[in-house]
Symmetry: D3
Subunit: 188 residues, 6 copies
Amino acid sequence: MPIVELHVLEGYDSTEKRRLGEALTDAVRFVVPAAPDAITVMIHELPADQYFRGRSPRSPAPARPDPARFVRDYLAAMERRDLDAAKAMLGDDFTMQFPGAAPMTQLEELIAWSKPRYNFVTKTYDRFDAMQSDGAAALVYCFGTLSGEWLDGTPFSGIRFIDRFEIEGGKITRQDVWNDMAEVKANA
Amino acid sequence: MPIVELHVLEGYDSTEKRRLGEALTDAVRFVVPAAPDAITVMIHELPADQYFRGRSPRSPAPARPDPARFVRDYLAAMERRDLDAAKAMLGDDFTMQFPGAAPMTQLEELIAWSKPRYNFVTKTYDRFDAMQSDGAAALVYCFGTLSGEWLDGTPFSGIRFIDRFEIEGGKITRQDVWNDMAEVKANA
Amino acid sequence: MPIVELHVLEGYDSTEKRRLGEALTDAVRFVVPAAPDAITVMIHELPADQYFRGRSPRSPAPARPDPARFVRDYLAAMERRDLDAAKAMLGDDFTMQFPGAAPMTQLEELIAWSKPRYNFVTKTYDRFDAMQSDGAAALVYCFGTLSGEWLDGTPFSGIRFIDRFEIEGGKITRQDVWNDMAEVKANA
Amino acid sequence: MPIVELHVLEGYDSTEKRRLGEALTDAVRFVVPAAPDAITVMIHELPADQYFRGRSPRSPAPARPDPARFVRDYLAAMERRDLDAAKAMLGDDFTMQFPGAAPMTQLEELIAWSKPRYNFVTKTYDRFDAMQSDGAAALVYCFGTLSGEWLDGTPFSGIRFIDRFEIEGGKITRQDVWNDMAEVKANA
Amino acid sequence: MPIVELHVLEGYDSTEKRRLGEALTDAVRFVVPAAPDAITVMIHELPADQYFRGRSPRSPAPARPDPARFVRDYLAAMERRDLDAAKAMLGDDFTMQFPGAAPMTQLEELIAWSKPRYNFVTKTYDRFDAMQSDGAAALVYCFGTLSGEWLDGTPFSGIRFIDRFEIEGGKITRQDVWNDMAEVKANA
Amino acid sequence: MPIVELHVLEGYDSTEKRRLGEALTDAVRFVVPAAPDAITVMIHELPADQYFRGRSPRSPAPARPDPARFVRDYLAAMERRDLDAAKAMLGDDFTMQFPGAAPMTQLEELIAWSKPRYNFVTKTYDRFDAMQSDGAAALVYCFGTLSGEWLDGTPFSGIRFIDRFEIEGGKITRQDVWNDMAEVKANA
């Protein structure tokens, strides 16, 4: 039943408009228990010469990246140990928090820290949940299970994990990680 | 710069309209990198006799609860061991997943499971992040630190945790928990 | 899928707004094959001091009567031979056309004309169809069956009829009648 | 004074938009006694990628045929005895009701029925009135006069008739006919 | 033909809304040569809890005074030599420019300057023209004729004058005066 | 905070839309003391086949000339004594009023009148203020200083002037002039 109209400057592509349509629908459903089919979103584009703020036309800013896809790309780069690609996605003030570790800021620290823990690890994702925070950052949560190989060569799998990311200005600025590795080891 | 207009049936209070205003603003910012001040939301209310779908007027559905507040209330009830209050907030198909445990569906199971683990635990929250999923469920993530007392009476504190909740039909249907308890115990 | 917004001066009651909602829905369905549920109508009322044409506020004109109801009332008045009530519903230039008769303008003419044809007649309605013409007149079609008594006292029933009315300025200005009376008589 | 805005998916041509503009104007005039010039209709088209229902874009459905033109074409096909063309315009459950006849469903029945009545008949139309019913069917009323030739070769003309059609799913599903043929014959 | 919609926070009275309606109509006519009757303005009021900028509700600012009326009041106060009332309407940086005088900032200067010129003067107004400048100031032009008494007691009248005012922050900040006094004196 | 939406037929160029955007912004600021940046104007263009008044599509009228530019061009033509160009910009009922002169209607009159007054004069403009009057005319005020040469060859400069113009139907219909020439001469 609710109807959302978005007036926005021309310049967003179909994928970006689709993301807007979905986010606006979800924003309404967050409060109003309407069936999805009962929520309509209309995006009205305005050419730059038909929109004025303070008497002046404005230009559209390029869309933000899809934060879930951005995080997925980062995690893939890390998994294949493409540190250059991964670093390019990190903000200057990036920090990461892993279970049982002090906060780290450099990917090399992370690799050094993980070396005495396991030979390698890969992630299987159950789900990515992304949202805009009430501030500047977009948030991405992803969770699933870890599999890999312990230092002694024995394999492991099915270890629950969850990651939380903050993305701001098109860069990852924070990563928090929780998982059941210690739990599993303790029970092993 | 973007302007959102929401047309909705009369019947939501100022708090609910505020939640709509915030969620719609955040939905736009999720894609368009406009400064918050440059995003305007207008909510247009329609009396029931001025809105028709399929030739018929419609009634507004009561607003969904604020999921972050709902989860906070649930966690508070659990912390003070008010199981009746907590149970009333759970859906019929509620399941919870704690580190190192099989999935549980009854709060009594959870209490039995925790008994050989610690005397008590309290949560300090860094942050609640809530969003509508792309489906019917609202999602709440909250994280922070645990403090409490081990079985031997020694206190603990500062143990990182994160909880993920799904709320559907005004009830919690799923809880997933991760924390560093095992990590801390292993290092103790 | 289509959405209609009507901006109109404050001053119409719920029944009148319902009629607007239905007529606008039907107008869309006349062209667009959307399921009724997919057509939304929103009526936005404007207080008189928030609407200007040519720099001046305007007042809302009282709603037109529901033409189907108006015709139904007229036909009921005629059936109970309440000529005063019926006459009050006719425009100054009212004309009526009955099968095999010259055009008539006075109800007394009609009564005189019907006298040598039947003792009385009552109408059973299958349906009223009302619409706005492309001009000033509203149109009402109603059809069903006649029953009554011939001059010789024998009853009749089930004789098909159709009436067409034009309503303008709140008065009936034209009535056209077709029926199977002659057909039935010829076959009798 | 009233202003109508229609939001509709891109894909209707100028003629279809004109039909929408006229039908919406008439819908307003059906209730509000505004001068035609005081009624404004604005059609806002939305590209398919700017409209979402339930998070998903939708496609526009092809416009319904103009029912008055459709009926006119049907009547022209019948008049020139192009039964194939006429049949193609009839729905599977088509029925027709002529004065003094049992309901018929096949055009051949109609032709057989008319054979002992007249040699041929042509229609002169005073007017077509078309509207959407409150259900799925569009309605067309047309009336005027019949001329033609009786079985004995004598011509006739000026015989009043009225037809009522229902069109649904792009096909004629019902035709009801009234006329003064029996009246004229009785008086002849 | 053009239609203007203004969305504004609730809180302006009918006179202020009328001023908005007129100013918006004139703004359109400044560019589009539509007949006044063909320009519609609709003002949509929003309760404070239905409007958000940057996630926050906003309050409406009190309307600016009608600048033409404000200037008229100032000129009336000056004419009756109510300097206190007049001074209260002047901004801190008020300057005035009269023919043949250096710029003045104090009303007392003006009175001293006029003393050797005439005994008194009154203004008859042909017209006030008021507009918003492209900056913060509103502008008022008024012109007409002066009448009064020269120092020698002879009366004068019909001397053309024009005043230009700038109003900012609810105060007059600048006055420029031109008139034909010297012309008239030279010709006397 | 206020938002203006203008619905107008397609056919105005970017400069004309810019003029509309500025005039509408200023119209709002004339009453509402919002910071310029807080006033948004959106121009929604409608193709001719999507706008109907009284069931009929309409065509856009060509934009009015920018009156300030029009007056500037007229004054430039006069200054370079291009009387043909200047005359082409005058309405049939053009009148002008100069200090100490009877009303004039012909440019030749003006030239004859100025001949015994000065050899030539040029204008330096401080400012043009243009607005739509409440009637059909656009108004332009311009003021600044005159420089030139007296009849005896001595130069003058810095003489204050103000002109007021009315423009209607694309022609100048009235000019009123005030200046300090007599004041300056009297003091010389």
